[in-house]
């Protein structure tokens, strides 16, 4: 399979605080990569670097062979290839569900409105929210909002979608509906980079696990079951232990 996203020697710091030391990663088309690690390890920052929401101090990120550089004019073109879903959903509160979803496709990609609406309704139907199309975000539950945010990202037909702790702000009973949606997406062949604290979900969805700690990739493996049963490094062992109760 072809290489879609490539990160070489990525270095990111905020002032004197080094957040990412030297990250190297390559993601193939259709791959689902789950990034885990302790809070503050830099995993969210890493995702934000990938679509140019953060500037980087060293290294190269390419998507489809094109370099991602924050602040450059063509960054808007690149970002259309990279969908992102945030922890706090970030729907636009002054727009209905449908307006939220079709805004960027019609205004940025200049697609026909009818066409965008038709596809939006199809996707909303898939996540069971077609009857909510004229609702405002404030009328939806957290889980519903997050599914709308996923549909909004999907309608741009991104090459890769970044998920930044998308269930972290949700009530436990709503986590499931969002994760189901993501598993369905993964099965349909989408390329996904997922930052999560849901270990059972990571195990179910990942083609590859990346364990980041203190700004470095500590462990990287395609043996997902093996990783959760018996990780190679002590740091990963210690981290996974924090999710277990005896």
């Amino acid at each position: 399979m072809s290489e879609l996203l490539k990160v070489t020697h990525l270095h990111k710091e905020f002032g004197t605080n080094v957040v990412l030391k030297d990250i190297n990663l390559s993601v193939k088309k259709g791959e689902v990569v789950v990034i885990i690690g302790p809070s503050g390890c830099g995993k969210s920052t890493f995702l934000r670097c990938l679509n140019g929401l953060e500037d980087i101090q060293g290294g190269v990120i390419t998507v489809d062979g094109l370099p991602v550089e924050a602040g450059k004019r063509d960054i808007t073109k690149l970002r259309q290839k990279i969908g992102m879903v945030f922890q706090s959903y970030e729907l636009f509160p002054h727009m209905t569900v449908l307006e939220n979803i079709i805004l960027a496709p019609t205004k940025v990609q200049r697609r026909q409105k009818d066409d965008a609406v038709r596809e939006a309704l199809e996707l909303l139907d898939k996540v069971g929210l077609v009857d909510k199309k004229d609702y405002y975000p404030r009328q939806l539950s957290g889980g519903q909002k997050q599914r709308v945010a996923i549909v909004r990202a999907l309608l741009m037909h991104p090459e890769v979608i970044l998920f930044d702790e998308v269930t972290a702000a949700l009530d436990p009973e709503m986590v499931h509906e969002v994760l189901e949606t993501m598993i369905a997406l993964a099965k349909s062949g989408s390329t996904m980079l997922i930052v999560t604290h849901e270990m059972a979900f990571a195990k179910a969805v990942a083609d590859r696990i990346i364990f980041i700690d203190k700004g470095d990739i500590v462990e990287e493996t395609e043996d997902v079951k093996g990783f959760f049963a018996e990780p190679e490094t002590d740091r990963a062992k210690k981290f996974l232990k924090t999710f277990a109760y005896e």
Binding site: T76, K77, F86, E90, F92, H94
Partner: protein, 224 residues
């Protein structure tokens, strides 16, 4: 009880004149408010731009407007600049200029505050969808800013309407001035006219400002 002096208003065309005066006040306010809203949105956006010289200039502008009484501004523009620069500006134009100069600064500051109150991640969410800065402001930030602005700007708008009473100082015959003229003209026959006429002027200001305030409440509820 002594006469309240309202009867003078029913003499001749007195009440019509008062309404005409009210229209002058409202007209100056409406034009100034409309200009202030448009220019204030622009200035407000500029106030959030990260550019030190620009920030300094806008800060000086805002502070000047805040410190200087509107009456002094009116005098400077109408009596001062017209002579010094030799241009021909009517009292009405001077008034609209001063009120817009004032309104734009204060509106700009309200816009700045409203933009700042919108979480940064709303910008990022728009950027992540491939929108550029202009699209983000136009479709995402400004519509939300305007909704937050409504209650704040109503206060400014009603203040501007009320402050138009100052324009009689540069010779504009607006509602308060007409009221005074009516009182002066009837001093002998209705010595109590001051109470009645000013009370009616008070009510007229209320009639103008109250619907605006109601509209704000309505919009606030609708957009909550």
């Amino acid at each position: 009880m002594a006469s309240l002096g309202i009867d003078v208003l029913f003499k001749g065309t007195n009440f019509i004149r008062l309404l005409q005066g009210l229209w002058v006040s409202v007209e100056i306010s409406l034009i100034s408010v409309a200009l202030s809203i448009v220019l204030g949105l622009l200035i407000g956006v500029l106030m959030t731009v990260d550019n030190k010289p620009l920030k300094a200039i806008l800060k000086i502008y805002l502070e000047t407007v805040r410190i200087m009484p509107q009456m002094v501004l009116l005098f400077i523009v109408y009596f001062g600049t017209t002579r010094v620069f030799g241009w021909d500006m009517s009292a009405e134009s001077s008034a609209i200029f001063v009120f817009t100069f004032w309104g734009t600064a204060e509106m700009g500051d309200l816009v700045r505050g409203s933009i700042k109150s919108i979480p940064k991640i709303q910008f990022e969410s728009a950027f992540a969808l491939g929108m550029d800065k202009i699209q983000t402001y136009f479709y995402i930030i400004l519509p939300q800013t305007i909704r937050r602005l409504i209650p704040l700007s109503i206060n400014l708008i009603t203040r501007m309407i009320k402050t138009t009473s100052l324009v009689m100082m540069i010779g504009i015959v607006e509602v308060l001035k007409v009221g005074q003229q009516i009182i002066e003209a009837n001093r002998k026959t209705s010595p109590n006219a001051a109470f009645g006429v000013f009370a009616v002027v008070f009510l007229l200001y209320f009639v103008v400002c109250w619907p605006i305030s109601r509209l704000a409440t309505y919009l606030e509820k609708r957009w909550a």
